[in-house]
């Protein structure tokens, strides 16, 4: 469990806090989406989870280990993997397999075990035949897969994805999203930062941040159902939720906690068939 207690953090000592008394817990195997406008502190928050940043006030612990404790940092970083926004800067190896071997190498694992983990991770992300390629020859989507494989090779319990679909075309996006879901099904907790609400309609929980605070939290249905509040924060909501909400605004008696096209389809069909439809 990642436990965040009363965490405050400032980049600039006299400035506005980037994080303002944040409290949250993330359980093993959970899938949590974090959304919020640019500069609301999402990235700052998640960098506390693997001891890349330390709270100015309050505490963060991972499975009972405090991130302030120097002796635990290595194990915390193994348990909490992070896929950064720009994979270009995360890939440090000269070939794909060497990059994936970077993390396990830092754990000082023996070479045969590194080899095994590299092969496993490559297979998991579907890049088995690209082991010897050089990073600059990869497409954007492939680079992202390599950075995910590099994290998987650490055998983490939690993986943070910081806007994992930025710069990707639709097919690359789908590939990454289904991979994330697959990883979650294997019992690894996912912390998924995004601007695209459609990506996290299947998350177990959504956390909405604004100006360094958590302003809303709940299941996707609960959060996206609060359309006015989301709009006030200048955040998107899933397109179909917006559609339902607008229909309701026009006096149609329709549910507004609709998140997917399938749900919308059923609801609209239902309305069309029901006798009191106008």
């Amino acid at each position: 469990m990642i436990k965040v207690e009363n965490v405050t953090f400032r980049y600039d000592h006299s400035g506005e806090p980037a994080l303002n008394r944040i409290n949250m817990t993330i359980d093993k195997g959970e899938y949590i989406g974090i959304v919020g406008p640019n500069g609301c502190g999402k990235t700052t928050l998640v960098q506390h989870f693997n001891a890349l940043l330390y709270p100015e006030d309050g505490r963060v612990s991972v499975d009972g280990m405090n991130t302030d404790d120097e002796s635990c940092v290595e194990e915390i970083r193994r348990r909490v993997g992070m896929v950064f926004q720009n994979p270009d800067n995360q890939i440090v190896g000269m070939t794909v397999e060497e990059d994936i071997a970077f993390g396990p190498g830092n754990l000082e694992l023996p070479s045969p075990e590194i080899r095994q983990r590299v092969d496993e991770s490559l297979a998991r992300v579907g890049l088995k035949n690209h082991a010897e390629r050089q990073p600059y020859t990869l497409s954007g989507g492939e680079k992202r897969l390599v950075s995910i494989a590099g994290v998987l090779a650490m055998k983490p319990e939690y993986i943070i994805f910081d806007e994992p679909t930025s710069y990707l075309d639709p097919s690359g996006r789908d590939r990454i999203l289904s991979l994330i879901e697959e990883i979650n099904k294997q019992g690894i907790a996912i912390i998924h930062i995004t601007h695209n609400m459609d990506e996290i309609v299947n998350a177990g929980r959504v956390v909405v941040m604004d100006e360094g605070r958590v302003v809303l939290t709940g299941s996707p249905k609960e959060v996206f159902g609060k359309v006015e509040q989301m709009k006030a924060l200048k955040l998107d909501i899933p397109v179909v939720t917006d559609l339902a909400w607008r229909l309701k605004q026009r006096g149609e008696d329709i549910r507004t906690d609709i998140l997917t096209i399938d749900e919308a389809c059923l609801e609209i069909l239902d309305r069309l068939k029901s006798p009191h439809a106008s």
Partner: protein, 261 residues
């Protein structure tokens, strides 16, 4: 642009040799070619030919790798030809210089030595994967570790540098295009204007490289990087071929030394 001595995939004996052996051999050969006489020089050149043959690199490729240095070779040759004292063959009355027997001989010999050096280095890089090259360097530096030489960190630094070369070339291209789209012209105009344009490229590139470095450092830390010992995917291990190569090198060099060729 990024072509000199680039790795040529292959599976020859030379490709498979331990990188430490290859690096040390190139160093030893380079030292020897500079200090030995013509006879031993010929012997070493024949040896180099044999290595090229065994590496299954085409001669054309090896010659191509000399191309960027051609001006340097010509200059080296001319300097020796024109400025060595001795028996003149041709005299240029207008400038008081002359081509001498000794000059011609020295010019040819020294140019040949330098061509040998470049060929040796490019065979090394053409038959060795960059990452093996780096583990080779790390392996050779290993004995210095007790003296406090951070060999692991040096290896990481080198591999990061190589890893980011294509990234930076791409970046330069991008920034150049962005400036061309806003009217900068890198091809036409006076020299001064051109230099000014190029300096206007430098600043954004330096800035972006700092940003990149910071992000990469954070990502490395996030992946558990710390200074000091770490392990690698592949460990260098000497095979029988490596020992044979080692013995061969030692024998040849002692032979040359003893016979004072």
């Amino acid at each position: 642009m990024y072509n000199w001595g680039q790795y040529v995939p292959g599976n020859s004996i030379i490709h498979r040799l331990d990188p430490r052996i290859k690096i040390l051999s190139v160093i030893v050969l380079s030292v020897f070619i500079l200090k030995v006489g013509v006879n031993a020089g010929l012997l070493l050149s024949v040896f180099m030919m044999a290595v090229i043959f065994m590496s299954r690199l085409t001669f054309q490729r090896v010659i191509t790798s000399l191309r960027p240095f051609i001006i340097f070779f010509i200059l080296l040759f001319l300097l020796h030809v024109l400025f060595t004292a001795g028996t003149p063959i041709v005299r240029f009355s207008f400038c008081g210089l002359s081509i001498t027997h000794e000059g011609l001989y020295r010019g040819l010999y020294i140019t040949w030595q330098f061509m040998f050096l470049v060929t040796g280095a490019s065979i090394l890089t053409m038959t060795t994967v960059p990452s093996d090259l780096i583990s080779g360097i790390e392996g050779i530096l290993k004995p210095l570790r007790p003296l406090g030489v951070p060999t692991h960190d040096i290896a990481i630094m080198l591999s990061l540098a190589l890893r980011f070369v294509p990234t930076f070339l791409g970046e330069i291209d991008r920034i150049k295009k962005a400036q061309m789209a806003r009217g900068a012209n890198f091809k036409k105009g006076k020299m001064i204007k051109k230099i000014k344009n190029i300096t206007s490229l430098a600043l954004p590139i330096v800035l972006s490289s700092f940003r990149r470095a910071e992000e990469t450092a954070t990502a490395m830390e996030g992946r558990g990087y710390k200074r000091g010992p770490r392990t690698c995917l592949r460990n260098l291990r000497m095979s029988s071929a490596d020992y044979i190569a080692l013995v061969l090198m030692v024998a040849m060099m002692t032979g040359i030394q003893l016979m004072a060729l």
